[in-house]
Symmetry: C2
DNA sequence: TTGATATATATCAAAAAGTATATGTATAGT
DNA sequence: ACTATACATATACTTTTTGATATATATCAA
């Protein structure tokens, strides 16, 4: 996997993209509607941010039925995976990141269960 | 030290700011004219980038005579220091970062020796 | 105090990134 | 085939960031 460090940092430089990436790392895999719910963003907005993270090589998308699931691209170079994991370890217990996790956990009708 | 993760990533999201930060990490301390030389940027441009890194809490400045020396702020939270160090370990051997180091090493008249 | 050097800041135009909104596409159920 | 849902993309508009340039400040030496 060849990613430019500049692109990597640019992709994570938007607060919502950072939150999305860290939340996806923590939950392993999330679909667009779950992220829309957790981050309280309009669907086209989150879609575009996810597209940017995917274009930077940070996320992979998997389509399943109506849903598209995003996850961290584990083919990223180790330094990049380390950076994301280290950031998560450092800040996931603080606001707003911990609330995002909470929002996912308490989301009433997640797909694979019912839908969104 | 309280830094917002978003500000941290934003500060490093510009290619020149990332190069400057990694170069400063490697060389411990560099003045503006050394960075201007190594990164081949106009002085006001590098000054502004350095000001942004300082404002984000990533760099500290120390004035000595005519020169201002910048260094990594070691009061950053550990996750942030780890992230920078991990990135450096991962990419400093590749272009353009290795060339920046080379440019500093071969710079003919660095201050503390003669001046710039 | 004059001049030279190093750095910072201000201003403005250009470029990039962001948001909101509308629309398009794909899938699944009826 | 029709409808609803999930997601992506295009468009127009606004805001932010960046780069060039000019100018200001600070330090030191003559």
């Amino acid at each position: 996997m060849d990613i430019q460090a500049g692109d990597f940092y640019s992709a994570l430089s938007h607060p919502m993209r950072l939150r999305a990436a860290l939340l996806i790392l923590k939950m392993d895999e999330l679909c667009v509607c779950e992220l829309t719910h957790a981050l309280d963003l309009a669907q086209p907005v989150i879609s575009r941010h996810l597209a940017q993270l995917k274009e930077a090589g940070i996320l992979l998308a998997r389509k399943q039925g109506l849903w598209v699931y995003y996850r961290i691209n584990d083919a990223l170079p180790n330094w990049a995976l380390d950076v994301i994991q280290t950031t998560a370890n450092g800040i996931m217990d603080s606001t707003p990141y911990k609330d995002d996790t909470q929002a996912i956990s308490t989301m009433s009708d997640r797909p694979n269960q019912v839908c969104c």
